[in-house]
Structures are given as structure tokens and as C-alpha cells.
């Protein structure tokens, strides 16, 4: 079967800033594929190249067989793009926006009208379709932002952090609509820095950091990287710097990262490691105030591979 998305060694630099350095991956038709990475990882730059907005310095990619270098129009006609920043006309209503964007995707007449109504239904804004976008809440804007990309029923959809900065309810409804797209056979390329979203939605996940893909696979495959390791979250009553370096040398500890008073430790066996951490803390007059042992997850994988936390 033809690959939905086939990315081959993409590179992009902005002057000295190497935003994407040799990214390659494949997405099968009907899959949800997530690019998971912290701010500045190069997710948007990758998506921009894949939607022909940026020319890659090197490499190529094929969307349902259309080369992003040689057949931009072919790529654009099979594609729906949900940009990270909300992009629509605030001084027009949702219906006017959808109608205009529908025309840009080549829809006309009765077919356009029907489709606009369907999409309004999907994003749950039929009742407020006549209002100007500027009167909408952030969550409603996000939903229209997605709706625009659904109008022409594209085979492939890119969604660049579609849930940033919105309430849990709108977020839930967006995640459900992504799952619904999958049911309808749409291929989705999804970027996020929330590992829970990647975990819930994706068939495949690629972890990006500093312009590179550092791991990829199914959720299960990725978690296997950290094996049976436990993730221990410890909070202490003083600065994490006091214990950070010594804890890295404690037997059984693989990685330690710190963010404001909370330390995350990857360890082979928490039962054996924990007493040593308490002992080490005691000798430095640091009190451990809470301990939380978690199953390994994508967070642990990222920590394991980069030595940093996924969240910033």
C-alpha cells in the first residue's frame, strides 16, 4: 500500500539556527502519527515544509505520492492543514470564514453550502455561526481553525498543536474529533508537547528534540526503551541543586532531572534506590517532602534520551 506520508531526510536552517536536521519518518494511510517534542523542537518547521510553505534545504517528502519539491499543487490538493496559530478572519462570521475557505479548496454552490453546514455541526458551532470570530472564546476559535481544514474532506490532515491554551472541555471535543477522523480513514499528522495526547491518540509517535528525531515507534515500543525502569518524582524542602549532582551518582539511578523543587529520577528498582536517596538527602540536611513512583511513560523516555524533562 502507498504510504500516506513519506519523509526523507528533511533539513531546514534559519541562518545559524538549525531548526530541522535530517528528519525521516513514514505514516501509513489511516494512521494517527504524532510528533512529540518540547518548544523549539522543530515540529512546526517540519509541518511547514510538509505543507509546502517552506522549502527544505535538503531532502524531500511525498504526500500520497506527491513530492513537496516538485508537485506542490498536488500536495496541497490532498491536504488539510490546521496551523498552530489560529488563522482566519476575525471580522467575518464562522459561516463566512468556512464558506470562503471552502471556495479556496475548490468547493462551490450547493455542495459548499451543505459541507459548511456539516462542518459547523461537527465543530458544534451551528448556533453561533453568524457571529464574528472576534466574539468567540479561545476554544471556539480553535474549533473553527480545525473546521476550516476539514471542509474538502482531505485524505491527509496536519494538526499543529491544536489544543494549546484551551479549556479541558474544548480539548476533549478536539481529541474526539481527531479520533473520529481516523475512523473515517483520514491520515492525521499531529504535533504536540503533551505526552498524554500523543499516548491516547497515536498509532505511531516520533519524539523530536532540537531538530532531530530521537526515537519513534508505537507507544509500547517507545516505553520499552526505558524497560522496567521506574520513574520517581521527589519533592524536597530546598533547592534541587543541593542534591541533583550527587543523586546522579547514586547506584541504580539512570537519569535525574530537576524543575523547581521537583526531581524526576529514572531508576532500575525504586525499592533499592529510595533508601539511598533518603540517606543522601539526610547527609545534606535536605528533607524529602513527597515521593511518587510512576509506571514508565513517554515522559520517562524523553528524560532517558535527553536528560531533560519534556515539559518546560
Amino acid at each position: 500500500m502507498e504510504k500516506a506520508i513519506d519523509v526523507q531526510n528533511l533539513h531546514k536552517a534559519f541562518g545559524e539556527q538549525k531548526a530541522v536536521q535530517g528528519v525521516s519518518f513514514e505514516v501509513q494511510p489511516g494512521e494517527i502519527f504524532s510528533l512529540l517534542g518540547p518548544n523549539g523542537a522543530g515540529k512546526t518547521t517540519t509541518i511547514s515544509m510538509l505543507s509546502c510553505l517552506l522549502h527544505p534545504d535538503e531532502g524531500d517528502a511525498f504526500i500520497l505520492g506527491h513530492s513537496i519539491r516538485k508537485d506542490a499543487m498536488g500536495v496541497k490538493s490532498v491536504l488539510g492543514v490546521v496551523p498552530q496559530e489560529i488563522a482566519m478572519y476575525e471580522d467575518m462570521s464562522a459561516r463566512e470564514n468556512l464558506t470562503f475557505w471552502g471556495k479556496m479548496y475548490g468547493l462551490r454552490g450547493a455542495a459548499l453550502k451543505t459541507r459548511v453546514n456539516e462542518v459547523l455541526e461537527v465543530i458544534g458551532l451551528t448556533d453561533r455561526a453568524k457571529e464574528f470570530i472576534k466574539k468567540y472564546s479561545g476554544g471556539m476559535k480553535r474549533r473553527v481553525n480545525i473546521g476550516i481544514a476539514l471542509l474538502h474532506k482531505p485524505k491527509v490532515i496536519y494538526m499543529d498543536e491544536p489544543t494549546v491554551g484551551i479549556d479541558p472541555q474544548s480539548r476533549r471535543s478536539i481529541l474526539d474529533s481527531v479520533l473520529k477522523l481516523k475512523q473515517e480513514g483520514t491520515t492525521v499528522l499531529y504535533t504536540t508537547h503533551y505526552m498524554e495526547e500523543a499516548q491516547e491518540l497515536s498509532d505511531h509517535i516520533a519524539i523530536m528534540d532540537q531538530g532531530k528525531m530521537i526515537a519513534s515507534g508505537t507507544h509500547a515500543e517507545l516505553v520499552k526503551i526505558v524497560g522496567a525502569m521506574d520513574r520517581i518524582r521527589v519533592t524536597i524542602n530546598s533547592e534541587s541543586a543541593k542534591v541533583l549532582e550527587t543523586w546522579k551518582t547514586v547506584t541504580g539511578v539512570t537519569k535525574v532531572s530537576a524543575e523547581d523543587g521537583t526531581l524526576t529520577i529514572l531508576a532500575d528498582d525504586s525499592n533499592r534506590v529510595l533508601p539511598r536517596l533518603f540517606e543522601s538527602a539526610a547527609t545534606r540536611a535536605v528533607r524529602i517532602t513527597s515521593v511518587d513512583i510512576q509506571e514508565p511513560n513517554l515522559e520517562s523516555v524523553f528524560l532517558h534520551l535527553t536528560g531533560r524533562a519534556l515539559r518546560d
Partner: protein
Amino acid sequence: MKVIDIAIKDMTRSFRSTFALIFMFGVPLLMTGMFYFMFGGAAKSDQGFSVPVTKVVVANLDTGGPGFEAASSAFPVGTKAHSLGDMILTTLKDKSFANLMEISVVDNAEAARAQVDGQKAGVALIIPADFSQRFSDLNGQATIELYQDPTLTIGPSIVRSILSQFMDSMSGARLAVSVVSKQTGSTDPAVIGQVVSQYMASIPTGDQSAALLDLHAPAASKPAANTVATIVSFIMAGMTIFYAFFTGTSTAQSIIREDEDGTLPRLFTTPTTQTTILGGKFLAVGLTVVVQMTVLLILGRLIFGIQWGSLLPLVLVTLSTVMAAATFGIFMMSLLKTSKQAGAVLGGVLTVTGMLGMIKIFTMGSGSSPAWADLASSFVPQGWAVRGLSQVMNSASLNEVLLSCAALLGMSVVFFLVGVLRFQKRFA
């Protein structure tokens, strides 16, 4: 057609923006309106002030003086008069005053007053029986009764001022009479009548009624009205052109703003070519300026009564101006990177080029515009637009405006090419 869809979308947004509308229509009309009212609204028509016509009823009871008989050549209106009362009546009936007064005659004082009381007339003028007599009598007091409707102010005051003007000139005659009578020692009414007649004939202006007209405000505004109308017309022309260029640049700014808002990049993710997208946006700029100029020209005609000249040359000049204003906007925007930059730079550029272009209008008051002003204005498109429109307003033919139009279109081609090339490169 996606080009049209994009253009319509842009125009919808422009005409929804209160800010844009104010600068498109509000400000140019307001500026012109300020001048219009500063000059007392005199530009409205060629007739100067429009003063309501006052109904004047005259009871001329004057029986004439001894030997008073002015020859037709002796007083302005050229008919024979038997009394001073006749002279006054004939003067008032002169057609120069036709748009100020409507004269009717009754034969007694009561009837005249009754017409004013019954509001059939605004002013009653009663010339007493002994008017000529008393006038001829050097010690006598010659008076006319003016009976007026108290609710009227303008009408009676006009009549009064015309009368006093008349009486002033008559007192010149009276003075002549007193000189003659002192020298000859004669008080013979026949002699006095003759002197009056001769005096009237010798008044240097020759045309008595013309002299009266010149001295009176309502009529005197006649020549001034034309100048004011001209000034207001040219100010409106200048404003229309200045704000056409303003609209051209500010609507072209939507290209940069859409780029910043992410809607332009989003358009580029749809299967729409760059030519279509930029074409649609350029079309919107052009059409917006067409709408703006058309509306301003029509409102200028309706509100200020401006005569723009004959249609065909006007259409040609307007379209050439639209082309120049739209392409100028696109050109300016292609040179700028951010809308912040655009806001700061544009005000300055538009003001300077606009001023240069309108230099002829500013120097209009001081007669012919200096050569350097002509030269300077020919470097900016606004200059050619002003030139073209002024030509049309001075009833130029199609052929005569061709140079201005050619200059505008030539500049448009350059602006367009540079703008398109730069934008194509930017969004490639």
C-alpha cells in the same frame, strides 16, 4: 473564480472596518466641508447667497414736486418719472433686484399696511404725497414710511439698505440743489427739478442700479461665490486624490497584515496559486479605490454642487488615478516588512507625496502656480492625478487629459511590476 472570491472577501473586510470607512469617505468630506462652511456655504450655486424673495408692496402717493419731471436719460431705469416716488418705484422694480424683491403696487397707504398685516407682503413702502415737494424744499424733511412684518428680518433689511443707498445718492442731488440755489438765489422749483435731473444724469457710474448692487452684501457676493466654489471644488478634488492614495496603501497593507495574522500562509496551504492569491488581493485594492472615488465624486456633486466636468474624460482620469493609487499601495507594501513599519513609514510618505502632488492647489490662491511647483508635482502620481482632474474640471476634452492619464498609467506599470516581482520573491 478564486481571484474574485479573494477580492470580495478583502472588500467585505475593508468596508466593514469603521476605521477604513472614516478615512475613505468621512475625512475627505469633512475636510472639504470645513472649507465649504468657512466660506459660508457660498459654493453651493452660482447665484451667491440664496436669500428668500421679499414681497414688497408700494403705495406711491407722491404727487410730484413743482416742475419735477426727470427725463428718461436722467435716471437709471430709463423711463419717464413725474416724481421722486416714481423714481424709487422704478429703481426697486429693476430686474437686478428681481431675485430679492417682488414688487406690487397699491394706491393707498391703508391697503399697503393691510397686506403686511395679512402676511401677504413682508414690507410695505409708503411714499407720502409731499415727498418730492419736501425733497425739493431745502429745509423740508423727506421721509418714506417702511412698514414691516416683525417676524421677518432679512427681507426688510435688504429693502431698507437699497432705499438708503438710493436716498444717499439723492442727497447728493439735494446738495447740488442747495449749491445752485445759493449761487442763483433762486428757489424756483422748476430750476431745482432741472438740477436734480442733471445731477442724476451726471453720476459717473452711469448705471445707478449697478452701483447699488456693488455696495450691497447679498448681491456683492456674486463674483466671490464663484471663487469660493472653485476653491471648494479643488479642495474636494485634492482630498479625493489624497485619500484615494491613502486607501490604496492602507488596503494594500492587508497583504502584510494577513501574512502576520497567518491567514496568508494558510491561503498558501490551499490548492490556490500564488498568482491567484496576489491577483485577488491586488484586485481588491483597485476595486476599493474605484468605489471610494466614485462615491466621493458623486457626494461632492450632491453635497457641494461641484461640477466635475464631462463624463468621458472624468472616467478616464478617475480610472487612471485608481490604477496609480492601487499600484502605489502595492509598491509601497512590497518595500516594507512589517505592518508596524508600514504604519510608521506610510503616514510620512503619503503626506510628503500628497503635498507635492497638491502643491498646485495650495498655491492656487496666489494666482498662477510657480514653475518649481509644477515640476515637483510631476514626480509624484498624485501630481498627475491633480493635474488630470483639474483639467477635467476646467472642461478639458478627452484629448487634453491624455498626457496626465498616460503619466499615471506609466507610473502604475512601474509600481505594479516592482510590487509584483518583490511579492513573488517574498512568498516564493
